[in-house]
């Protein structure tokens, strides 16, 4: 009998799949990554649009965990990061835009002309966000405890968390517990008076979520977004040179360098199991591959309801998995422009280009965001959407021919579940709505469009395997967080059958380009592996 070909099979070569694989291979496991698409990277991709290259879905990578970059030597594998001084440019239909800079003092200076009180409050708010986010960063790297039968190691981890929590100090400790379940709108109304500032910060708390800024728990999403990076109040704005696909490439190179194999064009149709333990996977082609460990980065609904044997899952877990909330609400519009658009408050002046290097956040007030969200409650597309746009060519001209620019636009809310109409018929309408909204703050922009590409939530499901088009593999809400992400009892990366692990954004600490779930899961897989080895 020949030896098993692989110790571990990773399902999906998105960023979390690649991170998992790199760590597993680094830990000595013979690892195979299977990817349905033609290229590794999943939604982290740079794709061609006309003569330019555009970010497929995500357009910034600043939340990537620092330890992942270091552990996997991503710099060595070609990753080059660009950090502009401008973090956010918030245009306003009614006047000049506002820029949030990497330096809070500079932002405060900029705010002074709008509101002296806000200018005063901003640096303190930024510090508060950083303090609580640093505790959340600790939460993010922790494997959630087993609430059913806490083990010694849980107790130790719990002590660590407790220590980190105590380290906050008494006041901030109470403050953290008050803030986390809050609506971000309330948090911002307590701190600031400027609508533009409130909108720009609140937007980050509801990105990719079926939540409005007045929904409880959105303060927690804002803080989680700042955890483990230097985002602070303004949030991160970091580009990968060559677009997000360059990060995918660096990750893939790290995986291969660690000795793992990546097979593309290989769709996993089923995870095979016997007697409560995984035995490998079956490909769409019918090919069977065996391994005692299967690490799935597909979203939890897909993994539990689509890939696993329903008998292993059982009716109760199937019911619970079916109830995981993941109503996708974001779409993507990519544009190629024949010149740089002019935004009010960022025109012609020396600083205009500098400002537009930040994320351009069209969310001029909390009410604007809330109204844009309201539409999605009734299954309708926002007529006046919240947009987050970047112009990566400002920092990385290699992406488009000289003189032209790429604009990458995240569109919200565009609900996957529509009451009326269907997405294939409404693709153009969505593009038009995005341009109309941009035109409101950057007159003349639409006339500059030479190429346009629209990815609807349905496209995200079909092309990238995101169930219901949900970019984060599940709502980032309080009920799907930490020890209950994706489900209570499955938050420790171990699936319902032995040898199965959940390593994607559906697991703690959740979605976004962090590599967090993959890195945490790999740690647990390796720990189980060494225990198993010791036993046998």
């Amino acid at each position: 009998m020949s030896a098993r070909a692989y110790d571990a099979i990773v399902v999906g070569a998105g960023h979390n799949g690649l991170v998992t694989a790199a760590y597993l291979a680094g830990g000595g496991l013979r690892t195979l990554v299977l990817e349905r698409r033609a290229r590794p990277g999943g939604a982290l991709a740079t794709t061609a649009l006309g003569s330019a290259r555009v970010p497929a879905l995500a357009h910034t990578v600043g939340r990537l965990r620092r330890s992942v970059i270091e552990d996997l030597g991503l710099g060595r594998h070609g990753l080059s990061l660009i950090r502009p001084a401008a973090r956010v440019f918030a245009p306003s239909p009614e006047g000049p835009g506002l820029t949030l800079w990497d330096d809070p003092a500079r932002t405060a200076e900029e705010l002074r002309s709008r509101s002296a009180a806000d200018a005063e409050a901003y640096p303190a708010f930024d510090r508060r966000v950083r303090a609580i986010a640093s505790f959340l960063a600790y939460v993010g790297v922790t494997t959630p405890p087993d609430l059913r039968a806490p083990s010694l190691s849980d107790a130790v981890a719990g002590l660590g968390l407790g220590r980190a929590f105590r380290g906050l100090g008494r006041g901030p400790r109470r403050e953290a517990l008050r803030i986390l379940p809050m609506a971000v709108a309330d948090l911002l109304e307590e701190a600031f008076s400027s609508d533009l500032l409130r909108g720009a910060i609140a937007a980050r708390a509801v990105q990719h979520a079926a939540l409005g800024p007045r929904s409880a728990g959105t303060a927690a999403t804002l803080l989680m977004d700042s955890a483990g990076n230097d985002g602070g109040a303004a949030g991160q704005t970091v580009y990968a040179r060559g677009g997000p696909g360059a990060l995918a490439k660096a990750l893939a190179a790290a995986v291969r360098a660690a000795g793992a194999e990546i097979r593309t064009g290989a769709e996993v149709a089923a995870i095979a199991s016997r007697d409560g333990a995984v035995t490998g996977v079956t490909l769409g082609s019918g090919e069977e591959l065996r391994a005692p460990v299967v690490a799935s980065t597909a979203d939890p609904k897909r993994t539990l309801l689509g890939l696993l044997d329903p008998v292993e899952v059982g009716p109760t877990l199937a019911w619970r998995a079916g109830n995981i909330r993941m109503p996708g609400v974001s779409a993507k519009v990519n544009l190629v422009l024949d010149g740089l658009p002019s935004f009010a408050g960022a025109v012609e002046s020396e600083g205009a280009r500098e400002r537009l290097k930040g994320r351009i956040v069209l969310a001029p007030s909390v009410d604007y965001l809330e109204r844009a969200f309201d539409a999605s409650k009734y299954g309708a597309i926002s007529e006046r959407p919240f947009l987050e746009a970047t112009i990566p060519t400002l920092v990385d001209p290699s992406l488009a021919p000289e003189g032209t620019h790429v604009m990458s636009v995240l569109f919200q809310w565009a609900p996957y579940h529509r009451r009326e109409g269907d997405w294939d018929a409404d693709r153009d309408r969505l593009g038009d709505l995005a341009l109309a909204a941009l035109e409101g703050v950057a007159p003349g922009l639409s006339a500059r469009v030479v190429e346009r590409e629209v990815l609807t939530p349905l496209d995200l499901e079909r092309d990238y395997g995101l169930t219901e088009g949900h970019a984060l593999h599940g709502e980032p809400a309080l009920d799907q967080f930490f020890a209950w992400r994706p489900l209570l009892g499955l938050a420790r990366y171990r699936g319902p059958v032995a040898g199965l692990y959940l390593c994607g954004s559906g697991a703690h600490p959740g979605g976004g380009v962090t590599g967090g779930p993959g890195a945490n899961a790999a740690r647990e897989i390796l720990s189980d592996w060494s225990k198993r080895r010791r036993r046998s």
Binding site: E175, L211, R371, G489
Partner: protein, 543 residues
Amino acid sequence: MSGPGSNDEGVPLARRYDAVVIGGGHNGLVAAAYLAKAGRSVVVLERRHVLGGAAVTEEVVPGFRFSVFSYVVSLLRPEVIRELELARHGLRILPLDGTITPLDDDALWRVDDHAETIRELRRWSRADAEAYEEYGQLMADLARFVKPVLSMVPPDPGRVDPREWLGALRMARAFRDLPERHQAALVGLMTMSATDFLRQWFETEPLVATMSASGIIGTFQGVQSPGTAYVLLHHYMGEIDGAFRAWGVPKGGTGGISEAIGRAARALGAEIRTEAPVARIEVREGRATGVTLASGEEIRADVVLSSLDANQTFLRLVDRSHLDEGFVRAVERFKYRGSSGKVNLALDDLPELACKPGRGEWLRGAISFSPSVDYMERAYDDAKYGHFSRRPYVDCIIPTLVDPSMAPPGKHVMSCFVQYAPYRLADGAAWDDGARAAFGETVLDTLEERFPRIRDLIVGMQVLSPVDIEEATGLTEGNIFQGELSLEQLFFNRPVPGWARYRTPIEGLWMCGSAVHPGGGIMGAPGRIGALEALRATRGAGR
């Protein structure tokens, strides 16, 4: 207890008590009763001429008596009823049977009889009928689990005093022993929206909408807002633990409860004064020494208990110089956001529903205007942007069907709880007569869609906006729960992080109203725990 007197020069001496309770609402009265029961001399000071605060019965239209602000009761703590012997003091609760949700040409009618309800649900969805049973059992189990929280003094996460955390630890251990399905449901209850939570089981739109509605009563949230699922438990809490095992109306209106508690307090030796508004809490060297009434009269006491909300207590009655700035800021940012109004109707005759004509049993329970989740959400959307709902959620009861004494023979009163009516209107508009009239008309239009003849039956009508509620009861922004019951304002955060244990930064000043854990509703729990904590702290302090 020392009566009034005068010193040798004839200057009246301030009266002196062991304890003075500010506010004669149900919680203030409960607190006073417990203090008196422990042998303390205590006086309750009520601003109005009637006792009860927001739980009062008044004759608004001649011959017609209304529970003016509140309307139903379920959660009055059984230990309060037992320990204060409220039944002996005249408390009678009449059960309200069921809830009907009228629709265009049908109605969803759930009654207290479980089998009957299952039969009705089967008409809508077999799956829902099946799930209803399972759901009910699960919720009853969870209510039993959560119940101890209602009588717990919240621990302070800012400190690590193991004694404070004992209760929480005991619960954590009990949580571990729950079946996984229960654990998951409990987590969902604490974090989800009422609608998301319910949709895990049910698909029938009016069922989901009507059950969700209990999650938003008195809060500025929508049925799809995270954090609203928790209140769903209250319904079952009433069933397993409420003294009445169902929702009910007190005989004589909600004022009947306050009167019974008042009688109990008096019987135990408490003194109760009405039309005695407190103007100031006296503080000397960081310690509360008594109060001064608007009349100028001074009342001295070793401890002062305030059953008013945090805003009234700290920002109006206490001189700011006695409080540190951080605390004042925390009080100022506590959210009230009154979101509901009340319309009380005096009716010549019983109204009939278009979708279910006749004068049947279905009118004896709650009549809920909550046909769909969308309807509820749109009502909320209006309020978010500063308007009262064009089509509000209305929860009506006709108390005269169970307690005919509330109106002249053959006549009826109808009590309509209306949401949303935001305290702050858009563009700084005032809740003036015009706004109030428009709001009343909107409610009548809404009622008329289901009760086509209702306008012809009206002989008297009272419309209360949140501003009216604030003016009449003193409840800040008209919030009937003395502050939003949102997640960040519950348990150890209520009303101020670090000051959730009924104490205040002023020694000898205690909180005992809905502003403190476990919050609003006619529960009596804050009054009881507040009084017991104050007693515990002063025990042996040389009386």
